[in-house]
Symmetry: C2
Subunit: 558 residues, 2 copies
């Protein structure tokens, strides 16, 4: 134990942002005798990395607000020695020491416990690795300062943001807020790849409504430049997007080199492998944050989830365990996330339907439209909620929600239920708070669960929004004016309130799909037809409001 | 089966609001062949009873918006026969028929399945049972219309609202909104009796800040009146509150007479006893809504929960079971509720600490102050969250939250976790959505769970906010200016960042309590003192911000 008392370990922490800072303060609170040192490669510890885009856009006005805790506070309140601009070069596990390079040279620092919180680093394509004056990542305070400096000096008018993940979307919004014209480039077929396509389409509509020039299914192939100034992004399809500012937000790569070089086990998800106490394959070395693998609550295998929430919780656990030898167990993570995109909120948890299929899960899904609170109360905002669940028992695999107020609440409720392995029936029975300004007696979460439960009971089965309907007798129960607004070819039109009388106009033996705007009336109609002896009736989940967002794809009609 | 096909039962429903309306439409969707009739005593079915106060205040402008579904819609879309102004007088279980009195006389109606959704009725004290022209309940559309008519005709200036439950508080807010001066009378020692006192005090402060004249711990004893016009409420302590409008919102009584007269079992909570399919002691008769007993998820015994959410969910289950002979099971209820009180949102789930003690549970509690989202992001609003949990394993018994934006979300998350019998550790591990506009990497739910987990681990134990501190060495770690604003007598003042150096000024052998504004720095300080060998250190939960709301009460100092 580095020559020290077992109750007073020397705890070294590599990386002083989310996970590392949480580990350090928790370690101190649990052990006043420990010696605790944080080595941070960059110039700042404990900064609000999730806030960076919002200072770029000026929504967070005061830069100092991003500095959540200073080295001085760590020292004074917690007796924690913070050494910024100190890079940890290597770990000598046998002698329990690390080699550190700081402004005044290299040194070896002995440890009893080592906590790695190295984070991740932005992926930069080779062609962007030069020293362009107007091409940036946005991952650290210095990144942000560089962007702001460029915005100040060169007053760019047009920006290209590459990558439509969480950070990319926040940057797009904030650059628009500053008055720039923004193009957004995403290699995947739709923005926010963790979403299913129909949900992503709603986000894309929001982007277009705010005049974002959107290029999906189109990666960046190169940059045209002159004298260190990039002048255009060249896309895979050879489109040239001229601009005077470029932000790359393509993704991040876990910083595992230090751990791997020391022989610590790296998992199949290419993160540092840890146990539930956040110990690596060396029990004296812990790891937390973007560089590690967490147990995924839906996939039931280790996965990387580079988000601030798990990093903070894992840091707390590692800090306690390093300081005392015990801790609670790190809970599995669901990948729950939320992002604001102009007037819309987009949130998700668990896995998408696309991913569930890739995992060979027997998956079904239901999409509902609802308002965040009672429709009769002023200010109700619409939301679309998709629930993804397994056939059979209906275990919830994931959920996605896009809308205004209250989107984050519904996803948090579902993520909470998923923590306990919830089924569709569990969601349907939740006792949620209701008053007209806050919800509905049947909350959107209930409605989605009711729809899913009906689907699981084949009452009636749901069809995905993009299903090719050629093999079906399609019964459109909308009003004439709804149909005019959003036509559906080849359908028999019988308004819902006439369906009972006019059911004899359609063939009870043919496979039938009932369609309305949001699938609510269609459910009533489909059940009615079932009750009248129709042999194979389906409901198109989400109705025309969702189908109109996607191209029909060739699914079997059975 | 009333002479009919078993697959085409005649289903009669008594009461056409929340539970009854849900039962009827669900029954139809599940069984196209059933004959379904709703008998509703009042003139409206399926009206938004939770919206009534908001139309009184004018926040919901259009009265028609409160009529969620009309008899015509029931008929046209669902082939459901709605008979308003039909009172069901008695049930003949042997012959499966009910006696009904409508506008055109009495009749007997046979049933195969009967669903009772009679609701509750407002409790009216004897002295208010006359025909005062200016004394009202607010429970039905006609009640609301009568109040609005009085407001229009007599233009009252001063109102007395009796009863500070959910409806009472909504009425107070809405009458203020119309420009009336409002007095609020509550017999219990504080508003919203399901809350614990310190949380209720925050609500009371909000009421006073909006110039509500508040009288707690003081019931109404009588009315002074002249010529059918009440002129003052006389309280238990003989205070006279002069006013020209009186709204009674004292509570409700379940309408169980019809069921009881028919020999159906009434439970210990004085509601109609039902099983998980909502069947009464007669399996052909179902009951739902305010008149029944639900299984309480914390108390694990039947309880009445007169709220719209459970009524709607129970109605759906009863409707399906009556129509098909099967259904999912009604989940236990937690009594989750929310109410807006001016700028504050107040939400709760499970049971209060007061009630837990009455139930002889070994209960502990933690109170935190946090903001609804990252403090560095503009518009963060404070909230206070109280978590109530059992000693030992830390099963969650309840939660209460008062604040602005995001209060309902935290209570819904905790209520969802409680559905699964969650512990404090479960809450600490939830993977909740985080981005700066929506939450914090450590959400208030996590923070409350962390504080509770520390308490359960005696790291350090928490003291209730009102604890008498005479026996303790009190260490106040706030800044001098904080102490000036909110003084605490008899404390040693050592600012948190000086505590490590100055700990020698205090006695490590004396029972010690550390105090700050919100209990966060006090936690750091208490752990520091523990680490320095102090033998008995406590933290005052919620800190001075909560203690300042309550009178210290005589608790033992151990």
């Amino acid at each position: 134990m580095a020559g020290r008392n077992a109750n007073a370990p020397r705890i070294l922490i590599v990386g002083g942002v989310a996970g590392g800072a949480s580990a350090a303060t928790r370690a101190r609170r649990c052990n006043e005798s420990a010696e605790i040192v944080i080595f941070e490669k960059g110039p700042y510890v404990s900064f609000a990395n999730c806030g960076l885009p919002y200072h770029v856009g000026g929504e967070i006005e005061d830069r100092d607000k991003l500095l959540v805790a200073t080295p001085e506070l760590f020292q004074q309140r917690f007796n924690i020695d913070v050494r910024v601009e100190h890079e940890v070069l290597s770990i000598d596990r046998e002698n329990r020491s690390i080699k550190v390079r700081g402004p005044h040279g290299e040194s070896n620092e002995p440890y009893d416990r080592l906590i790695l919180s190295p984070g991740a680093e932005p992926i930069v394509p080779p062609f962007a690795k030069g020293t362009f004056k107007n091409v940036f990542n946005l991952w650290t305070m210095p990144d942000m300062d560089a962007i702001l400096s460029r915005l100040g000096k060169a007053a760019p008018k047009r920006a290209v943001v590459v990558g439509a993940g969480f950070v990319g979307l926040e940057v797009v919004e904030q650059l628009q807020r500053r008055g720039l014209d923004v193009s957004l480039v995403e290699k995947s077929p739709h923005v926010l790849p963790p979403l299913d396509v129909e949900m992503a389409r709603i986000v894309e509509r929001e982007l277009r409504d705010h005049e974002v020039d959107l290029h999906t299914g189109n990666g960046i192939a190169g940059l045209r430049s002159n004298d260190g100034i990039a002048s255009a992004a060249v896309l895979d399809d050879e489109t040239n997007l001229e601009a005077d500012l470029f932000i790359l937000s393509i993704g991040v790569r876990p910083r595992t080199k230090l751990a791997a070089d020391a022989g610590l086990e790296i998992g199949e998800a290419r993160g540092i492998r840890v146990n539930e106490s956040m110990q690596t394959s060396d029990p004296n070395i812990y790891a937390v944050g973007d560089a590690v693998e967490y147990e995924h609550g839906v996939l039931h295998r280790p996965a990387r989830v580079p988000l601030a929430g798990p990093a903070n919780r894992a840091g707390r656990i590692a800090g306690e365990h390093a300081a005392t030898g015990r801790s609670s167990a790190m809970a599995s993570v669901m990948g729950t996330a939320v992002v604001r995109v102009f007037e819309k909120t987009v949130a998700l948890t668990g896995i998408s339907e696309t991913m569930a299929k890739r995992e060979h899960k027997r998956v079904r899904s239901a999409i509902i439209r609802a308002t965040n609170h009672a429709g009769y109360f002023p200010g109700a905002e619409p939301l679309v909620l998709k629930l993804i669940y397994e056939e059979g028992f209906g275990r919830i695999l994931g959920a996605q929600c896009v809308g205004g107020e209250g989107v984050d609440k519904r996803i948090d409720v579902i993520a909470t239920a998923m923590h306990f392995g919830a089924t569709v029936e569990d969601l349907a029975g939740l006792d949620l708070a209701y008053a007209p300004p806050f919800g509905s007696a049947k909350d959107p979460v209930h409605m989605a669960a009711f729809v899913a439960a009906n689907d699981l009971d084949a009452r009636p089965p749901l069809l995905p929004p993009g299903t090719v309907l050629d093999g079906y007798q399609v019964v459109d129960v909308r009003t004439a004016s709804e149909i005019e607004t959003l036509p559906l070819k080849g359908a028999v039109h019988i308004p819902i309130d006439e369906l009972r009388e006019r059911a004899n106009e359609i063939d009870p033996k043919r496979p039938t799909v009932v369609v309305c705007h949001s699938a609510k009336r269609a459910h009533v109609g489909a059940m009615l037809l079932c009750g009248l002896g129709f042999q194979d009736v389906r409901n198109l989940t989400g109705g025309m409001s969702i189908r109109s967002l996607v191209e029909p794809v060739g699914e079997s009609t059975t």
